[in-house]
């Protein structure tokens, strides 16, 4: 008998009598002030957030805050005349030297400041992790209060890969001193379109 059968048999023999799952529909977030809550939490984690009218403002802010002479990539066609458009066919290793990536996310989560995005919006999975600085565009009305609403929105999700991203990468492994910028981006900026 192979290990699969041995393990399954042992599990079946040793597991206790079935206990029921709890009702988790009781958990709901508060839909008030989600945008402000999101901004407050995200800033407290070390991210930058801007509430903007449209993408022209985004364009201007990027110019102000980032060294756009270095390689900047984007998935937004509206920014395509200034920045390099991401490609699905290029080897991901070729994106090693991106300074800034400007991409969209599906929505934000107010309780933890995270955004949710799938591989479709990343264009290539490595993009939000390999860039030195990450900028994400979401719409204000997409922001949900808690992860409960988030997973309702995600549903089964027809993605190959998806992730919550909640701020600049960080570590406190050296004497608990917080350092922003571990292996992922050194900074994260969220542009919230009204």
């Amino acid at each position: 008998m192979g290990s699969r059968e041995k393990i399954l048999e042992a599990v079946f023999k040793n597991q206790p009598q079935v206990t029921p799952l709890p009702d988790i529909a009781i958990f709901k977030g508060d839909n008030n002030d989600t945008v402000q809550k999101y901004i407050d939490v995200f800033k407290s984690i070390g991210g930058s957030a801007f509430l903007v009218d449209d993408l022209t403002v985004v364009n201007a802010l990027i110019n102000d805050y980032f060294e756009v002479v270095k390689r900047t990539v984007t998935s937004l066609p509206e920014l395509g005349d200034r920045f390099e458009l991401l490609s699905t066919t290029v080897d991901p290793h070729m994106y090693e030297d991106i300074e800034l990536a400007v991409i969209k996310a599906q929505f934000g989560v107010a309780e933890n400041g995270a955004v949710w995005l799938t591989d479709e919006l990343m264009v290539q999975r490595i993009i939000p992790y390999i860039c030195q600085h990450l900028a994400v565009v979401i719409s204000a009305d997409s922001i949900v209060p808690t992860l409960h609403e988030a997973y309702e929105k995600i549903g089964e999700g027809n993605y190959g890969f998806g992730g919550f991203i909640g701020g600049p990468s960080k570590t406190a492994d050296i004497e608990q001193a917080l350092v922003l910028g571990a292996h992922g981006p050194l900074s994260m900026t969220v542009f919230i379109l009204k």
């Binding site: 290990s3 040793n14 597991q15 206990t19 958990f27 400041g113 992860l147 701020g167 492994d173």
Partner: protein, 463 residues
């Protein structure tokens, strides 16, 4: 690998506390993290309801694990992930080796996996010509120091920055004396970035595996799991069979609890949901038993399998804070380690359930409400019954049994004790008396309660 030289927890802890300044610093660092957990949990009014729900979900999982495993396997395969089953550590390691050998890969980057640490994967692969680099900064530091991680979430919490600076000077050529955490992290970032870009294989652990959809979630703050996975040709995930959760919606409960319990963050920076391989990439997942089915069969201890590896119990435990994870001579240390380890090797880890004051703080902070302190107590009874309690303990238990077995014995022992404390205190006030270590012996009372009562009862009658 630096080993604990077969010393038990008490002996290793004794070494640890010799450096008073260091142990106080270690204690403070961990308690600070406990306090952050408290701050975070108090911001969620429904925190206790979340704990209760998480506990019930995990109880359901271990009661229906057979079904969930089959469901998960079927969905993984549907998603294009290759599935393997490993009965023990050796088999797990052999599977990883075979996957790498098939693609002639000799270098792999790993993001945090306590399971692979438990299995001794790095050593196994090294012996067969495959280099594994731990990419989590704390684990990387431990790796270059040839020491196991001391905490499941904060691998080098026991090291001062000067010590880490010295390691970086030796292994990465940084300036001698450099100990600034930001600068050291930048050096590691550069060095490990090159590793991510050049490794064809990446291995991750699994925080949560969703039976309903066949996807699994990996939580990091550093982004190292994703840097490895999305640049790899071959992605391997190793998971203990107890990491399953039934439905996708349940992730909301667990992700709300995990980081808040571990470090006080509302969520880890990255919570990555891996489902299907990239085009041109292979994904493999290994389901590992390695003692879990045996624990599942122990009615008193199976709830330890509910653990989501947050480390909150370690951060709060007064014994852990003052002895350090390496005193537990087991990959998973602290309170949860003490109830998992005796199942793996009762002889080797018989001391662990006794490394506790049974204060119960661990049970209070556990996000899935494992009754850790109850299980510590129950393990003690199993260990003594099986004959693994030390001789000193057995003899002193027997002596106590004799003393308490009759009023006569009790009175005699009491009288003798009071006589010695009065007339010959040095008999007990010395290094042979374990109670005397760092304590003053009490002044013996002039008489026992029974003697006092007898005397005064007669006085009372006279009135």
């Amino acid at each position: 690998m630096k080993q604990s030289q077969n010393k038990d927890h008490a002996a290793l802890a004794e070494d640890f506390i010799k450096d008073n300044e260091h142990v106080n610093w270690h204690d403070g660092a961990l308690w600070y993290i406990r306090e952050k957990r408290d701050l975070a949990s108090k911001q969620i009014p429904e925190w206790e309801a979340l704990r209760e729900a998480a506990s019930k979900i995990k109880s359901n999982v271990i009661s229906n694990l057979h079904e969930y495993l089959l469901q998960f396997e079927a969905n993984l395969q549907k998603n294009g992930v290759k599935v393997y089953w490993a009965a023990d550590a050796e088999e797990h390691n052999a599977i990883v080796y075979s996957i790498l050998k098939a693609k002639e890969i000799t270098e792999m980057v790993k993001s945090k996996s306590m399971l692979t640490e438990e299995c001794g994967l790095n050593e196994y692969l090294f012996e067969r010509g495959i280099e594994v680099i731990n990419s989590d900064l704390g684990e990387y530091i431990q790796q270059i120091d040839n020491e196991p991680p001391s905490h499941i979430v904060l691998p080098c919490i026991h090291k001062r920055k000067e010590e880490i600076g010295e390691l970086f000077h030796k292994h990465l050529g940084t300036e001698k004396g450099l100990s600034d955490p930001t600068l050291l992290t930048r050096v590691a970032r550069k060095h490990l970035r090159n590793i991510f870009l050049t490794r064809r294989a990446a291995l991750t652990g699994v925080n949560f595996a969703v039976a309903e959809t066949g996807e699994y979630v990996v939580c990091t703050n550093e982004g190292n799991a994703d840097m490895g996975a999305h640049l790899s040709e071959v992605q391997i995930a190793s998971m203990g069979i107890e990491k399953l959760i039934p439905q996708k919606m349940h992730l909301a409960i667990f992700l709300r609890l995990l980081a808040r319990s571990a470090t006080g963050q509302p969520i880890t920076i990255y919570s990555s949901h891996y489902k299907r391989p990239r085009e041109g990439q292979e994904m493999h997942l290994i389901l590992v038993d390695a003692g879990r089915t045996r624990q599942l069969g122990r009615a008193d201890f199976r709830d330890s399998l509910k653990c989501i590896k947050c480390g909150a119990c370690m951060n709060t435990c007064p014994v852990y804070r003052k002895s350090g994870g390496l005193s537990y001579h087991n990959t998973i240390s602290g309170p949860i380690g003490a109830i998992l380890a005796p199942n793996l090797n009762m002889k080797q880890h018989a001391d662990l359930p006794f490394a506790s004051t049974l204060c119960g703080s661990c049970s209070n902070v556990c996000p899935v409400k494992i009754n850790i302190h109850d299980q510590l107590y129950k393990w003690r009874q199993v260990i003594v019954k099986e004959g693994y309690a030390g001789n000193a303990k057995s003899l002193s238990m027997k002596a106590m049994a004799w003393t308490l077995s009759s009023p006569g014995n009790f009175a005699t022992a009491g009288k003798a004790g009071r006589w010695f404390l009065h007339k010959l205190p040095f008999i007990v006030n010395n290094k042979f008396n374990p109670w005397y270590k760092q304590r003053e012996m009490p002044e013996g009372p002039k008489e026992s309660f029974a003697e006092w009562y007898t005397k005064n009862k007669e006085n009372d009658k006279k009135e």
